[in-house]
Symmetry: C2
Subunit: 429 residues, 2 copies
């Protein structure tokens, strides 16, 4: 079903050793070749971006049956909503064009110069017009850690957690592309033992290491997607930083869940790695006990082995420090289960929906995906290189998350999602 | 600031006594003149819809400075994102065109025949491409009733409730226009004393009587909207039925809030009544104690006097029964406070966002806005006309909500939002 290209094939475009973007990967993004130029679609290869709008205009993707101008849009949605067969054909044709031995683009000096843009010249944009954004809570380790902190060890997991992939609706408008600065949010918080809340900049600004998938195609309202058909609706994946204001969250979240604590920004990596590209890294998801209800039972519990890292760079420190090494495969609930659960009521998912995993924590302290867990509510600060420490984020801090797959000599990655904290702007200023 | 047209002026289009749609109202909607024809914008007057795309094409709105084709779009978003001044000019010009003494349209038999379509011939569509949907919880009476049922009288209101307008992100994709049938959702629920949940059709399907407002214009990410500037961002209002599966909600909602319990459908009335049209019905919002924090303190606490009714029509009953009479003015938190709170973190709101009020319950049992409250969790069933009763919704039930303003001889309304329950479709069927 999934066309797996030959990972051994090389490109005429140089790919540095250790690059996340070998010829095999070909993730999709939206870029401008230079600041001020119109956004269009591209794929990343090594340290270059292939301008798909030019390649499409030149007729080199004609075999894929794309509607004219598919890659000249400022979003990938038009491409994503095409039948899977057309999208696969496009990937195969793009792969073919970039092969070492294929002269069409290689020997067309003019097109090659225009269509292959060095990555340090481009401006990346949000790749998808995000319709609805849903955030799950699918890491057992994360849910357990948070549960222990707030409710004690005996009641760490809520009674529903092992039976369904808990999730909530997030804010789509504030999903931003990697590199966007994050303004520290203001909000209501209440000091311990205070009688009334106060308003001001969040003091417990946190990260959440997540991954998300982008939905392709529509199911009609009232028509659930069976769990074993859910994979056909997943276009590809990105790394997600779900910025979180813990002090705002603590005061506001009862009884309807997080709202202002999360609505100020969610950052995603700019390159969408397709499910086809990830197939060599498929692996079994964790066994589930108790067995889930039939609508969540998968014939094959598939997930991906994606190593994730989080680096923190504080302005006063001597360089960045790695604060988390986790893996997507730790998640208890799979993407297929999330999608099936989301639609079991008849909820319609559409092209461009973003479904994120929730914080991806592993079993050990070194693999926890939020500062809340890493510093255990601030009680065990992170030591910064060269002195100093962090409990939560300070102004000027930069957080960079990355994901890499490696197996049998094949290595590919997601690049990074990075963001820097700017000081708060209080209303009225 | 708000141009208030003269309510005494009559139209050459007949307006039946008691109509929600006198010349003064002129609410905007999206309609097709007949099934299969392309959607375009219109205003409602009496029992007719004025086709604004034809009126605009004929040059009769030229003075409003609208970009060409503004009213030929399948959504109102392009119109809503225009500066308030242009939108007001459009309303004044449309009002002028429909006046009794104005011959331009009245005496142009051809245009009049094409542009004024009897309402029983048109198909109404969702009027706005809804970007993000947020649902608040702003009725003190509703929050108190629910709190008493689930936590007892002493702890009815959560500690945060009187300090901030509690809200959560809802599902935008499943917002549907009045008249859309609602398929009963399936989901996980747990029986009292059961050890494990089961999956099937919701047995406690409920309504929530709400109103919502549509946002006009954008604030940049990181730029809060001060509470006294919030009114400039409100385009108009609709009546909202936030269908809710109480049994799914009860099992899933801890700790991240309602998800599947609400994501299957939210219905809105098709005609957006502008804030300008509502200004004669402005009134003071309830006094607040404790005084809210400065960012939520309004120079003028303005709300609207809008009488709301809910009718239930069961298939086996002898006609409909009115199950709720409430009023928008009961709400403790105003629309301006909701908008200011939503953006105080820097969250960006955009044209087409829908912000709903939460269930609007009044002080008396007859004014409760959900079956949960009306039947007090099913313990006090509703008697149906001709026999039979209801605790929650049965298949075939139709619920119709309506809103009307009346003052000093001027009366206008929202029409209705109606929906009928269809039997569940279980996954795999």
């Amino acid at each position: 079903m999934h066309a797996i290209l030959d990972p051994a094939v090389k490109s005429f475009v140089p790919v540095p050793d250790g690059s996340h973007f070998p010829l095999y990967n070909l993730p999709y993004g939206i870029f401008s070749p230079a600041a001020g130029e119109s956004p269009r679609a591209g794929v990343r290869i090594g340290d270059h971006v292939l301008d798909l709008s030019l390649v499409e205009d030149a007729g080199l993707l004609d075999g894929a049956g794309l509607p004219r101008g598919t890659f000249s849009q400022p979003w990938l949605n038009r491409f994503m909503e095409l039948p899977a067969e057309n999208r696969r054909l496009a990937r195969i044709l793009i792969h073919g064009l970039l092969r070492q031995e294929e002269p069409t683009l290689r020997d067309n000096a003019g097109l090659r110069r225009r269509a292959l843009v060095p990555v340090d010249e481009v401006v990346m944009h949000l790749p998808v017009m995000i319709r609805d954004y849903t955030d799950f809570y699918s890491s057992r380790e994360h849910a357990t850690n948070v549960g222990i902190m707030f409710r004690g060890k005996e009641n760490a997991l809520m009674p529903n957690w092992l039976h369904l992939p808990v999730g909530y609706h997030g804010r789509a408008s504030s999903v931003v592309v990697s590199g966007t600065d994050i303004v520290r949010p203001c909000g209501q918080t209440i000091a311990p033992d205070a009688e009334a809340p106060s308003f001001g900049p969040s003091r417990l600004l946190d990260i959440e290491l997540e991954m998300g998938f982008l939905v392709a195609g529509e199911n009609a309202l009232g028509a659930p997607v069976p769990v074993d058909e859910a994979w056909d609706r997943i276009f590809g994946m990105v790394v997600v930083n779900d910025w979180s204001a813990r002090d705002i969250q603590k005061w506001e979240y009862q009884p309807l869940g997080p709202f202002n604590a999360k609505n100020f920004a969610t950052s995603i990596s700019p390159w969408i790695v397709t499910i086809d590209a990830l197939m060599p890294f498929a692996c079994a998801a964790p066994a589930q006990d108790p067995e889930p209800l039939p609508y969540l039972r998968e014939k094959e519990r598939r997930t991906f082995d994606i190593a994730l890292t989080v680096d923190l760079e504080a302005p006063e420190a001597d360089g960045p420090v790695t604060i988390c090494e986790s893996n997507f495969r730790y998640l208890y609930w799979t993407m297929a289960q999330q999608l099936a659960h989301h639609t079991c009521t008849g909820c319609n998912l559409g092209t461009g929906d973003l479904l994120a995993s929730g914080t991806i924590s592993g079993p050990d302290k070194g693999s926890f995906g939020s500062l809340l867990e890493i510093t255990w509510r601030g009680s065990e600060p992170i030591a910064l290189p060269g002195g100093g420490q962090r409990k939560f984020l300070a102004d000027g801090d930069r957080v960079t998350m990355s994901g890499v797959c490696a197996k049998d000599g094949l290595r590919l990655g997601f690049g990074e999602v990075t963001g820097r904290i700017l000081p708060a702007v209080e209303p009225g200023q």
